[in-house]
Structures are given as C-alpha cells and as structure tokens.
C-alpha cells in the first residue's frame, strides 16, 4: 500500500516514515503542500497523510484542491490544533480522519488500517457471525453456542463496532469517539471497564478470547 506523507518537520517525518515502513507501507515524504499536490496528481496513492500546517499550501487547502480535482483518496490530517472546531473544519474540508499531535505511532497505524480497510457496510447486513459469536442487528440479540447473551446498549454497540472491524486494532480514542461520542481524553478507564464487562459476558463463560487487548495500543476482535 502506498502512502503520501506531507510533513515539514524533518525529524517527525523521519520517525513517522520509519514507523510506517516498518509496518510494511510504501511511503513518499514531501515537505510542503505544493509538492504534495504535485505528487498526488502524478502518482496513485492509497492514503494521504497531511500535516495541517504546511508551507506554501496548508493541509486544509491541499485537501480542498484535491477534492475539487475529484481525488477521493482517503486523507488523514495530523494537526496540533485539536479543538472540536478544528476537527470539524478538517473533516468538512474533506479529510477522512483527524489525529491530534502528539500522537502515538500505534494510534496512527490503527487509523490507517481503519481507513484503508474501511468496512463496506452493506445495508442488507442484518447479522454478524464471527468467531462463534452471532449478532442479530435488528432484534439486537447476541448468541454464542446457542446461548443468549444479554448486553446493555453500550456493550452491544461496542461488540458490533469491534466485530465489524475484525482482527484490526481499535484504539481507545477511536472507540471513545465511535461509541460514546467523547472527543476528549477522559481521566477514567471508561473503555477498559466496558471492554472487561463485555469480555465477562462474551468470552469468559465460554473460555474463549475473541476480544483481545493489544497492550498500549487498543483492542480488537479476533475471529
């Protein structure tokens, strides 16, 4: 998979591109917005990762002009501006995700994964069946080995979210964002608590380990 990465701080660029290469991505690094647009029009990439503050053409304008040119390649913004309004501006301009600096490499990798293999949510899908867990999205019922498992709404939403992205690490902030609509970093272990509740109902009674913790990175549903 090919990634175009625009970052004007050379140290950050070196670290991030190193991390991305280690994760098996091909990567082109540019230092300003103009070069990013030029490369984007010349080559085909799978993802653009753009810093928001770039010389010559800033990230926001770069995304806007790419989108105007009907370029639908997914964009992840990296930015020091982290308020809700900044996020909204970035997403409105056409970005697919927004990551606030400083970020953990694992967070960026998880988000690239999420975007690169964004689940195709078929409207007609009414059941999920993975690793022995069956979820009926209409009746909101969960079964395992023919046994009905009662989940509260948040646990159900969490399970569905993870099952729709099997084998892919979902970070804490991605989960908070998706399930609780929380865009700040809470001081308490909301995600941990709910994951452990969910695990106690889905995995523990059956001796399975579908819901896995990737230490320091996040959680994923192993099929």
């Amino acid at each position: 998979m090919k990634i175009l990465y625009a970052e004007d701080d050379s140290d950050t660029a070196t670290y991030v591109s190193h991390g991305l290469k280690e994760a098996g991505y091909q990567i082109d690094v540019v230092a300003d917005g103009k070069q990013a647009i030029a490369l984007a029009t010349m080559h085909r990439y799978d993802i653009y990762i753009l810093d928001r503050m770039l010389p010559s053409v800033d990230g926001l304008s770069a995304v806007k002009s790419l989108r105007m040119a009907k370029d639908t390649t997914p964009v992840i913004f990296l930015s020091g501006l982290g308020s809700v309004n900044n996020r909204v501006d970035g997403l409105k301009a056409g970005a697919d995700d927004y990551l606030v600096k400083p970020f953990a490499m694992s967070e960026l990798l998880a988000r690239i994964e999420a975007i690169a293999r964004r689940p195709v949510l078929k409207q007609e899908t009414t059941t999920l069946s993975l690793g022995g867990v069956c979820v009926d999205l209409l009746s909101r019922e969960v079964h395992r080995l023919g046994e009905k498992i009662t989940l509260n709404p948040k646990e159900f939403a969490l399970l569905v979210y993870l099952m729709q992205r099997p084998n892919r690490i979902q970070t804490k902030s991605m989960i908070l964002d998706a399930i609780w609509d929380i865009h700040f970093d809470p001081k308490t272990s909301i995600v941990e608590t709910h994951i452990s509740r969910l695990r106690a109902k889905i995995d523990k009674p059956f001796g399975t380990q579908n819901i896995q913790t990737s230490h320091g990175a996040g959680y994923c549903f192993k099929a």
Partner: protein, 455 residues
C-alpha cells in the same frame, strides 16, 4: 492642542456663517429701506413743489418768493434747495444752482454747493421735482444725505448688534464644542494609555448626554474589556504553562538522564522509557487542557449552542460511568425523568463538564461512597446535580477549588491536571449558567443551573 483647535475652528465656522447670513439680511433690508426712503423724498419734493406752485398761481410771484425765503431760512444746511424761473422778468430766484429747469422727478448731482461747505457728508446727490407753470418754472431739490444718513445709521446699529451677537455666538459655539472636545480628548488620552500598555484605562462615560460620543465611548470600553480579558487570558496561559509543565518536564529530563547514565550497566531501560512515555502523555494532556480552558474562557472559539436533550445526555453519561464506579468499589445512581428536557447548550462541552464532575467524584471520594447524578426541572430552571457523600470541600475552600491547578490535597496525584473544575466553571460560564458548590451533608453537591430560554 486637539481640544483648542477643533473647538476654535467650530466656533469660527459658526460665527462666520452667522456673520455672512446676517450681513446678507442687512443688505437686503437696507436696500429695500433705501428704495422706500428715496420714494418718500420724491414725494416730499413733489409736495413742496406743488405747494409753491399753488402759492404762485394764487398769490403771485411776490408771495412765492417770500415762501421760498421762509423755506430757505428753515433749511440753511442745504438740505432743501429751490429755484424759480420767472417767465415775465426772465430772472431766476432761489438757491438751487441749476441752469435749465425740467419737470417731473429727477435725480441731480450738485458737486459743489456753497451753503453746505461745512457739511462734508453731503455727497451732492439731490432728489428733485420740477413743475412747469404758465408764468414760471419751479424746481425743488432735496438732499439725498438724509437717505444715506439713515442707511448708515441703520447699518451701524445693525453692525453693532451683529458684533454683540457674534461674540455671544462665538462663545456659545466654543463652549459647546469644548465640551465635546474635552470628551474626545478623554478618549484620546485613554487610547494613548492603552497603546502605552495600561490596559486598565477606560473612557469616562457621562450619563448626561447619550449622543454619538457616548456610544463610541461605551463601545471603546467594551472592546477594551474584551481586549484586557484576552490579554490576561494569554498571560494566564503562559503562566499556567510555565507553572504546570515545568515540573513534569523536569521529572522527565531527570528520568532520561538516569536512563542515559545507566546505559551500558545492563539495567533494563524499557520500564524507564515506558514511564517517560506516560509522563509525556500526561504533559500533553495538561497542555491540551490549558489550551482548551483558555479557548473556552477567552471566547476565541465560537461555541455553537443548540437545543439538546439533557435527560438523554445524563442517561448516556450514567450508562457510561456506572460500571466504572462499580469497578472502583463506588456506586453511581441516576435520578432523572425519562421525558425529554431540552436546553440550549453545546453538546460536547456540557458532556465534558458532567464527565469532569463524575471523574472528580471518583477521584476524591473513598471506595464505598455513593454519587448521585440527578436532573431537576422546576418551571424554567433546569439543574444538573452531581452529589456525593465523600469528604466534601470545606466552605472556605469552595472558591479556591475553581482556580486553576488548585488541589485540596497538597500531594498532586499524577493523573489529575488540577484543571477539571476550572474547566467546568469556564464551560458553565460560557453557557451563561450558574455553578454552585454546596454542602451535601456529608459530601459535595455541585449544581449546574440553567434557566431554559424560550425557543
């Protein structure tokens, strides 16, 4: 300088326009009056001429000459001159130095007249009337000096009045503009002070006249209030950063130095490094919190308020936190009606405020404590209340806990920025709602009070 020049200029302009308009009025009045006076003079001369002609036809030449003499004796200053041409004796009589007689009204010029040499004001203009009789001709002339005199008198008196009025008007204009100029000078001096760095300077607001200057002064003051607010906010942020980021930075530096020193001594460095990363994350969280707080407080970011269902929000937060409380050995309860209660608020900010309060309860109450999240509606007052039965906050400390980085227990817990309640306070302030810290006997009761606005 500004004061003097602008008010003087204004006074001058007002006075000048007054002078010009009054002078015009005077000119018109004088010319109308002089026309009228000239007509009168002609009438007078005609009347006298006719009287003399009557005398001539009724009593003869002798009587006429006597009457002329009488007239002349009354008017030795040359204001009336008469000449009679006797056809029978072909001689002339009288004082008017005129060679050829005429009939009807005529203006004549007599440049030099002996009888009036002492009268320097005589301009030689005479208004004359001649009558042609069978036995002679009579011309009576009256000096125009009277008209000129009257005109002069008239304009002199007008000018004197004009002069007085001019002085009065100039003074009034000067005083009036000086008042405005003084206020302008006040604004000017305030702006100078601001430019020199004294942000506390404010314009004087006079309650008397609510004119444009008044509005401008009020506007300048409110702009300065905002400016001062954001500057002090900025200073606060810089101080906060210096205050609260230095300590973890120092810790981090020492830790990394340690790692460097131990390098090569076969001591595992993974632990140290992962601790450093935690420390760094904490640092970045504090930094974010400081900026977030500053943005909310300064109003630098537009906060969109929209009708949100507060009971749904409370239920959502309760559902999220109930397991967290339970796992920590505490209890969270919800008291909230199921009906929809809407208030005008910003969803994420209000969510963060309530979450902060619950996290505070988690952090500052001992295990086994109960926390209640409740939503109350009384007519148009909606209160979100987070109350616990923990140690509470002593009355004298309640103001302080809203301050940045203030923590009751001196030992700072590493996971707390000390900004939680400040942030709640700023968010509530931004919503124009009220934050109350009360005694729950025992424990703390925090009330967020919104007055629902009609929409």
């Amino acid at each position: 300088m500004l004061r003097l020049s602008s008010s003087l200029r204004f006074a001058l302009i007002i006075t000048m326009s007054f002078v010009v308009s009054t002078w015009l009025a005077t000119y018109v009045a004088v010319s109308i009056q002089s026309k009228e006076l000239k007509q009168r003079l002609f009438q007078d001369t005609e009347y006298l001429a006719r009287t003399l002609a009557n005398n001539l036809s009724n009593h003869g030449v002798i009587a006429l000459k006597k009457q002329i003499d009488d007239q002349m004796s009354f008017n030795q200053d040359g204001s009336i001159l008469i000449r009679f041409w006797d056809k029978q004796s072909n001689s002339v009589y009288g004082t008017l130095p005129l060679a050829t007689p005429f009939s009807g009204p005529t203006v004549i010029n007599i440049p030099y007249l002996q009888s009036s040499t002492e009268n320097e004001e005589n301009d030689g203009i005479y208004y004359a009337y001649g009558i042609d009789m069978p036995n002679g001709k009579i011309v009576v002339a009256r000096s125009g000096r009277w008209v000129t005199d009257t005109q002069e008198l008239f304009s002199q008196s007008l000018m004197a009045g004009l002069g007085c009025a001019m002085v009065v008007i100039a003074m009034i204009a000067f005083l009036l503009t000086q008042k405005g100029a003084r206020r302008l000078a006040n604004i000017d001096s305030v702006l100078k002070l601001i430019a020199s760095g004294d942000l506390s300077a404010r314009c004087q607001i006079s309650g008397a006249s609510k004119d444009e200057l008044h509005i401008v002064a009020i506007r300048i003051n409110s702009t300065l209030d905002k400016l001062e607010g954001s500057i002090s906010n900025l200073q606060q942020v810089s101080m906060d950063i210096a205050h609260d980021l230095r300590r973890p930075l120092t810790r981090l530096r020492l830790r990394l130095e340690q790692v460097l020193q131990n390098n090569g001594t076969n001591q595992p460095i993974e632990d140290e490094i992962s601790h450093s990363i935690v420390e760094l994350d904490q640092l970045s969280a504090t930094f974010d919190a400081i900026l977030h707080l500053a943005q909310i407080e300064s109003g630098s970011q537009h906060v969109v308020l929209e009708p949100i269902d507060i009971s749904a929000l409370c239920y959502d937060i309760y559902e999220t936190f109930e397991p967290v409380f339970e796992d920590s050995g505490r209890r969270l309860k919800l008291s909230c009606s199921t009906s929809i209660i809407t208030i005008n608020a910003n969803y994420s900010l209000l969510q963060q405020a309530i979450v902060n309060l619950l996290e505070n309860a988690l952090r500052h109450t001992p295990p086994g404590s109960n926390t209640l999240l409740s939503l109350q509606q009384e007519t148009d007052i909606i209160s979100i209340i987070v109350s616990d039965d923990g140690p509470g906050i002593p009355k004298h400390e309640r103001e302080n806990v809203l301050k940045r980085f203030y923590q009751l227990d001196e030992s700072r817990t590493s996971d707390s920025t000390g900004l939680g309640l400040s942030l709640v306070s700023a968010i509530i302030h931004r919503h124009e709602a009220e934050l109350r810290l009360l005694d729950n006997e025992p424990g703390l009761c925090v009330q967020l009070i919104f007055s629902s606005s009609p929409y």
